[in-house]
Amino acid sequence: MYFPQKRITIYAGHYGSGKTNLAVNHALALRRTGKRVKILDLDIVNPYFRTQDSEALFREEGIELIASEFAGTNVDIPAVPAAAQSAFDDRETPVIIDVGGDDAGALALGRYQKTIREENNYDMLLVINRFRPLARMPEEAAEIARSIEWASRVPFTGIAANSNLGGETDAETILSSEGYTLEVARLLGLPVVYRAARADLATALRHRLERIQPVEITGKVWF
């Protein structure tokens, strides 16, 4: 398992890069090793796709979800759940934090930056997908990363490569993104912590790329 093991793992990045899905997979993987795990939904930007969408799964697996009581309802006010503070106060329990997209979403994380940096037991992963408009060039992705660090005042510690074309993703989609991933890593001076791939593709890519992390597709499916 290539998911980081520090007390706090934060997922941030461009809109639609797959932060929520990776955060959910990370929490599930930790939980399945028998650990107590919390997942904190800090997305105050987009009321449509949230960790809340996997609520039933969390209940089944025994993962503690901390989300705004308005998540998934008709109220789209940018509210941070009051219980969010408990994820930082309780330094015994691992927590996965799902941050909203871009610098706009990362602003909410800034509220907790002091305690995160003081505890100093965190990883913050930049989720990247080269098939997303406005982040297709490595320079654009790096610029988004810098604006997120500026808004949240929390420095990234690594990259979670998540280049995909949704349901049309194949091994070539991921292989052809390697140059992009390495260039973003070079520009930011960050290590590639893992490369996410659907389980069947992860098997196929095992010997061709390093640090391939199998993931499931979770959350909202409409059709």
Binding site: Y15, G16, N46, P47, Y48, F49, N74, D76, N129, F131, R132, P133, L134, R136, N164, L165, G166, G167, E168, W222, F223
Partner: protein, 353 residues
């Protein structure tokens, strides 16, 4: 940019509009279409275009009127309550014979309603919304790729017929991500904008854009001329997609996102031996009446599926002159019908065949 990208419906609207030559976007945020405004705010300055966040929806639609008067391709977008605010401006644009593209990513209503997907602005889009004798061309995509092609069409149709075009989506289409290709936009052959209030260079009389007519007989004549143009649109521009209609005894009909759910239901019903088919209008105005008339030949009944209390159902009944029973299956307020719900309703209807 011919490669595939993974794009949200709202982002696709923005990128396609830019590819279609739109350089003026006047927006105001409202869930679930805000990504479009945000996308335009980021992209327009990079390509020499104008993004302006107006002080209200009413201001934004009137800025579209102004930009369009000057001959530019202009666009605005909103979601249901915001579109109501634009109603007056839309009527003025229609009354001034101006092209414009207006996007409605519908949410639950009435009133402030909610932010979840809905299709309850069908009447507003196809029957008016603003005041007076006028029509909008209403385009209803059902995938992110079709959002791209219909956005191209929207700008061309608006210029061709000098009328506002609405792209009618819903929260699902606006928010979902699908892999798409942005092809080169090859424009239709379009008339010169000889009416635009650009510079006369001292070579012609000044143009005036106006929707006020002092004499009623003049206004009547203008309305007659406009309706002659609408008749041409009805004759030439109605579009639909048929799926397994050839022998369909039960014709399920739905537009936009619900057509995707309905298609799954049609496949499940066929597997159970029920001859179901899907008729999906792509243009809601003009409504593809001939397709319904022709489907009525094999159909024993119709079933409309909508995220509303039942609005398009009235056009279906009119299109087939009430020759067959038209049933309804819908959810409202931001709830989304499931294939199972559609199948159950369809099986209940098919029991009487």
């Amino acid at each position: 940019m011919a490669d595939k990208v993974l794009v949200k419906g709202n982002e696709a609207l923005g990128e396609a509009a830019i590819a279609a030559g739109c350089r003026f976007f006047f927006g105001y945020p409202i869930t679930p279409q805000t990504e479009l405004s945000e996308y335009m705010a980021k992209r327009m300055p990079k390509i020499g275009g104008t993004f302006l966040q107006a002080e209200s929806e009413i201001a934004a639609i009137n800025m579209v009127l102004g930009a369009s008067s000057a001959g530019a391709r202009a666009m605005t977008s909103s979601s249901s309550p915001g579109i109501s605010l634009k109603g007056e401006g839309i009527s003025y644009i229609a009354g001034s014979d101006l092209p414009a593209v207006i996007v409605n990513i519908q949410r639950g209503g009435p009133g402030l309603g909610g932010i979840q997907p809905s299709q309850s602005d069908y009447f507003q889009a196809t029957k008016g919304g603003g005041h007076g004798d006028y029509h909008l061309i209403v385009l209803a995509p059902n995938s992110v790729q079709e959002i791209v092609s219909l956005t191209f069409d929207a700008f061309d149709l608006a210029d061709l017929y000098r009328m506002p075009v609405m792209i009618l989506g819903d929260g699902m289409l606006g928010q979902m991500m699908e892999p798409v290709v942005f092809p080169e936009h090859s424009e239709r052959v379009l008339p010169e904008k000889t009416w635009a209030t650009d510079t006369t260079k001292g070579l012609r009389k000044k143009n005036i854009i106006n929707s006020l007519y002092i004499k009623p007989d003049v206004l009547e004549k203008i309305n007659f001329e406009r309706y002659a143009r609408y008749a041409e649109v009805e004759a030439k521009e109605a579009r639909y997609e048929g799926y397994l209609l050839e022998d369909a005894e039960l014709v399920i009909t739905a537009y936009g996102a619900t057509s995707r759910i309905s298609r799954n239901a049609v496949n499940a019903l066929r597997a159970k031996g029920i001859k179901a088919g899907l008729l999906r209008p792509i243009t809601l105005w003009p409504f593809p009446k001939d397709a319904y008339k022709s489907a009525a030949k094999t159909a024993k009944a119709f079933l409309t599926v909508e995220m509303s209390m039942g609005q398009m159902i009235e056009d279906v009944r009119l299109a087939i002159d009430c020759l067959r029973p038209v049933h309804f299956c819908g959810r409202t307020g931001g709830m989304i019908p499931t294939p199972g719900e559609i199948e159950a309703k369809a099986e209940e209807i098919a029991r009487d065949f």
